[in-house]
């Protein structure tokens, strides 16, 4: 029996054994003996019986796991069995109860003990936030219940989203915009009119009054280090697909794969955030602001726009005459009541 177990354990973990595989191991001499051995292993929870295409097959459990399973009481085992069946989709506690017909108290007690034995885990479903889903400890919850790469423990992972969106924003900026230094076009203003006028003056000896109006256009002094970001000429605007494959290639997210849908969600969120703008159907680019100073509008820049007592203001104790905010803003005295 142990021999069979050892032989099976030599294979890669998680291998599924069919009857012919076990026969090929040549541990048992007859089919009957093999059946008996397998039966014993199953009874000790060292093998897990499964069916595949209505054919019996088995999977190996570790000894420690089997050990834990052996210590379960029948109710717990029943629950464990059902949870196991749900695999990484998980099973809702209510559905579990419906299937097993145990009482609520017993269910809670058993689940607790299963959890304490490190056999199952509970996860909050993303789709139904008030449902507790149970699944085996060693499984990773599927995206249906745990959400995409942006979520952890059923909630959006703000820190992760923040970091990734920063990275993505930088990537998109480098794709769609170009940094232009202040001295990019370091021309010397050549003024034809001036040149002609000078030539004329030389020839005629007298300056024509009409020619002298060629005032040099004012050229503001440029600071070579002042970098301006402008939109790229003919850029390849990234789509959710290209950004996703770039991000996956960079492997910034540890063992998480970002699908196009996930990326689209993130990019759309960034559009809402005002960091990106959508160009056509599915392409994005960085929002640029030419001026650094942000003004809002006439209303909110005045005290009234942000006034906490705006709705109470009128005749009476709160009015334009007595307003402290106006007083502060204009640096004048308000009426004191």
């Amino acid at each position: 029996m142990d021999l069979l177990y050892e032989k099976c354990a030599q294979r890669a973990a998680g291998t599924i054994f069919f009857q012919r595989d076990l026969q090929n191991m040549q541990v048992a001499e007859t089919l009957g003996e093999l059946t008996m051995l397998v039966g014993q292993l199953c009874a000790q929870h060292l093998l897990k019986l499964m069916t595949f295409d209505s054919e019996m097959c088995w999977k190996l459990r570790t000894r420690s796991e089997a050990d834990k399973l052996r210590r379960l009481n029948p109710d717990e085992r029943l629950l464990y069995h059902h949870i196991d069946q749900a695999q990484n989709e998980g099973i809702w506690s209510k559905a579990l109860r419906a299937r097993t017909n145990v009482t609520q108290q017993l269910l809670t007690k058993c689940l607790k003990s299963l959890e304490s034995k490190d056999l199952v885990q509970s996860v909050m479903s993303v789709k139904f936030p008030n449902r507790k889903m149970y699944l085996l400890k060693d499984l990773r919850p599927s995206e249906d219940i745990a959400g995409g790469p942006w979520q952890s423990e059923g909630d959006f992972d703000a820190a992760l989203i923040d970091t990734i969106s920063g990275v993505v924003a930088r990537y998109i900026e480098s794709e769609t915009c170009i940094k232009v230094p202040g001295n990019w076009n370091d021309y010397t203003p050549m003024d034809r009119a001036q040149a002609i006028a000078q030539k004329k003056a030389q020839v005629q000896g007298v300056r024509d009054i009409e020619d002298s109006l060629a005032v040099q256009p004012y050229k503001p002094p440029v600071d070579p280090t002042a970098v301006r970001v402008v939109h790229r000429n003919n850029p390849q605007y990234p789509t959710a697909g290209t950004v996703a494959s770039w991000l996956n290639a960079k492997e910034i997210l540890k063992d998480k794969h970002v699908r196009d849908d996930d990326m689209e969600q993130l990019l759309e969120m960034m559009v809402l955030d005002g960091r990106l703008e959508k160009i056509s159907g599915a392409t994005y680019r960085t929002v640029l602001m030419a001026s650094d100073t942000k003004t809002f509008n006439g209303f909110v820049d005045a005290p009234c726009g942000n006034c906490p007592v705006f709705d109470l203001c009128g005749e009476g104790a709160i009015s334009a005459r007595t307003c402290v905010y106006f007083g502060e803003w204009l640096a004048t005295e308000s009426e004191v009541i």
């Binding site: 940094k179 402008v230 759309e268 559009v271 809002f296 006439g298 307003c323 004048t332 009426e335």
Partner: protein
């Protein structure tokens, strides 16, 4: 106090304050009665106002003169008066109008406009008389003038009072209003002609009192040229009886004519006939309105005789060396004698709708400057100014209702007809662009290299620099084209591609869509200032997705519910978003209900507009309060012996205080103008939005 009078709506308060500031207290008293009670007869006003009949007549005539009230049609048995809310509010814009005209034309033109604004509708002959009086104005008017000029602070008020006192001949009876106003205006002209732009905002918002020496109109001919130019550009229009009709009266009148002429005096009953009637009423209204804007034949025929074509709309040129042309004009026609010419009898007034067009242009240019940079903004300004000439207003107030669909018929989706005149090509813009503009700035260096074909880009620096002023027209066109592409790619779609003629792309500006986006932008701006980023994110999410429950909102914003609940609450309280509860079961339990949040652009727009009116009113009230505080000092500084000798007669602390008051006033007026810009965005650029 009765319930209905407990609080007057904000706009009424605001307009009453404006009227008081601009045309005086008496008129404001009557205005406030009309604001409170709505459409009234003379007798009813008398009952409600505790004023004598004579005072009421004077006040009403002032209001009528400034187009602040409508009156019922001539020949009606009882004359009703009603406030023109739009024009009353527009009092706050008078300074802006003069400023926009000055930007586009020159000081002279803005002077004419400012005078017309302060006078109300005026016959051209009277305007001539005012600028070039046949005899000297009476002496008492002159002295009045002096004080008013010297002390710009209280000018508006003095004028208002002045206006009333001179109007002793104002016996107003329902049937000869227009004539009366024209003549009234004329009597007042003598007193007022010397202050151009004589409303407060014009002077204080610009920060510099309009100098009187510049922009003096030298001759009658020049004046006519200006008037004609402004009429052609749609800034001035012919004054007409129908303009004094309230929307309701106008509708009734047009309906009556339509029934009379097209339905043989019997009101139609069938659905189709009714629909026809609605259409022809709208058509007629549009016709009446467009009639105001056509330049009268007498004026336009004069143009053909005029030898010069210096008044073509090439704004930049007019601005830079306009002086020469004007003076050239002067020499032509200065000697003409005063004679009655046919155009003298045409009454003209300022087109109140045009200023919104100019404000829209200004705001769009400002927005482009923020988003894409100065040079692109200049390009855009050139585009918009070129279009403005053919835009008398921002949106059609009386559009035809959509044709009823026959069952099974698809809605007509063919693109609206576009006037080929309103299409733009890069070449036109390149020609009209200010020559002193570094057109290459704000573009990707690679673009420039591609256009000039010289050198290449190394480390984003051109190896062979390009002199932007030395570009050929062809190169310049392509550079401008690059700017236009930037404009069109922006999410606002400042321009959109229309068609291709040969190798040249033709562009148009879809003002309606941009105006909607502008409204959204201002709402977002307001929320951003109050709530920081989160509120804007929520509003954008709701705008994109429609109604959402909490989970949907969380998913769209990728945040946890706890983080956004507070924001939802705040925005709901402010009226920017709405909440809705949909019960899932018969018992309306909170637990078993869907809680949805949604955002309606039109509602948010109205809410913000209302708040902005309120903010403006508070500013005006604050100005009054600040003035009250230094009133003693102001009257001292306005004394005729002190004016001009402030240094001598006022103490240092007084001077400091005066200076402080001027700064405060300036700051408040500036803010008032900026709030007015917001009002324009929210109210004037596009009609009501049916749904988000």
């Amino acid at each position: 106090m009765s319930y209905v009078q407990r609080e007057t709506p904000i706009l009424a308060d605001l307009c009453t304050s404006l009227v008081e500031d601009h045309v005086g207290e008496l008129a404001a008293r009557i205005f406030s009665v009309l604001a409170r009670l709505g459409r009234q007869t003379l007798a009813a006003i008398a009952r409600a106002s505790y004023l004598s009949a004579r005072q009421i007549r004077n006040g009403l005539s002032v209001l009528l003169q400034h187009n602040l009230v409508f009156h019922s049609p001539v020949g009606a048995p009882l004359v009703h008066y009603e406030i023109d809310w739009h024009y009353s509010y527009a009092l706050v814009r008078q300074g802006s109008i003069a400023k926009f005209v000055e930007e586009r034309f020159d000081k002279r033109a803005s002077n004419v406009v400012a005078n017309l604004l302060s006078l109300g509708p005026t016959r051209i002959g009277d305007l001539k008389e005012a600028y070039f009086p046949a005899h000297d104005a009476d002496s008492d008017d002159e002295s009045d003038d002096g004080t008013a000029n010297g002390s710009p602070l209280k000018k508006a008020k003095t004028n208002g009072v002045n206006g009333i006192s001179t109007k002793t001949n104002g016996d107003v009876n329902g049937d000869s209003h227009t004539d009366h106003h024209a003549t009234n205006g004329a009597t007042e002209l003598g007193a007022q002609r010397k202050h151009p732009a004589d409303d407060i905002p014009a002077e204080h918002v610009n920060g510099e009192p309009v100098a009187q020496d510049e922009g003096v109109i030298a001759s009658e001919k020049q004046l006519l040229d200006i008037v004609q130019l402004l009429m052609r550009e749609g800034w001035l229009m012919e004054a007409d009886q129908t303009q004094f009709l309230s929307p309701g009266d106008l509708h009734a009148m047009v309906q009556e004519t339509v029934i009379e002429e097209e339905h043989h005096g019997i009101a139609p009953t069938g659905t189709k006939a009714k629909d026809d009637m609605v259409r022809s009423i709208l058509r007629r209204k549009r016709k009446i309105r467009d009639g105001w804007l056509t330049v009268p034949a007498t004026l336009s025929s004069r143009k053909r005789q005029a030898p010069d074509s210096g008044h073509d709309r090439s704004t930049k040129r007019l601005k830079t060396n306009g002086g020469n042309e004007w003076s050239a004009n002067t020499s032509n026609g200065a000697s003409s004698q005063r004679e009655t010419s046919p155009e003298d009898d045409i009454p003209i007034r300022v087109n109140p709708e045009k200023v919104a067009v100019a404000m829209r242009s200004a705001q769009l240019v400002h927005l482009v400057e923020q988003r894409l940079g100065l040079v692109t903004a200049q390009v855009y300004q050139t585009i918009l100014w070129q279009l403005e000439r053919d835009l008398p207003r921002c949106f059609e107030e009386w559009p035809d209702p959509p044709l009823p669909l026959k069952p099974g018929e698809e809605p007509n989706v063919e693109p609206p007809w576009v006037d080929p005149e309103s299409l733009i090509t890069a070449r036109d813009i390149a020609k009209n662009l200010d020559r002193h503009l570094d057109v290459c700035a704000g573009l990707d260096p690679h673009t420039i290299v591609k256009i000039t074909g010289k050198g290449h880009v190394r480390g984003n620096v051109l190896t062979e620099p390009v002199d932007p002023y030395g570009l050929s027209l062809d190169e310049k066109t392509r550079v401008v084209d690059a700017h236009i592409h930037l404009l069109s790619e922006d999410p606002f779609h400042f321009v959109s591609w229309h068609s291709r003629a040969g190798t040249i792309s033709r562009w148009r500006v879809e003002f309606d869509e941009i105006s909607k986006a502008l409204i959204q932008y201002e709402i977002e701006n307001t929320v951003l200032a109050r709530q920081k980023g989160l509120g804007v994110k929520l509003i954008r999410a709701l705008k994109k997705k429609g109604r959402l429950d909490e989970r949907g909102a969380c998913n769209a914003m990728m945040m946890s519910a706890n983080d956004i609940r507070g924001t939802i609450n705040d925005l709901t309280v402010q009226g920017m978003i709405q909440t809705q509860e949909v019960p899932k079961v018969d018992r309306r339990e909170a637990k078993h209900s869907l809680h949805l949040i949604w955002y309606d652009r039109q509602r948010a727009r109205e809410k913000l507009l209302h708040d902005t009116y309120k903010g403006m009113l508070r500013i005006i009230q604050r100005i009054a309060f600040e003035r009250e505080k230094v009133q003693v000092l102001i009257s001292k500084a306005e004394r005729s012996d002190v004016v001009g000798n402030e240094e001598k007669w006022l103490s240092q602390s007084d001077l400091d205080e005066l200076k402080k008051w001027r700064e405060v006033q300036e700051k408040l007026f500036l803010q008032l103008t900026r709030e007015d810009e917001l009002v324009a965005t929210l109210r004037d650029f596009i009609g009501p939005l049916v749904s988000a």
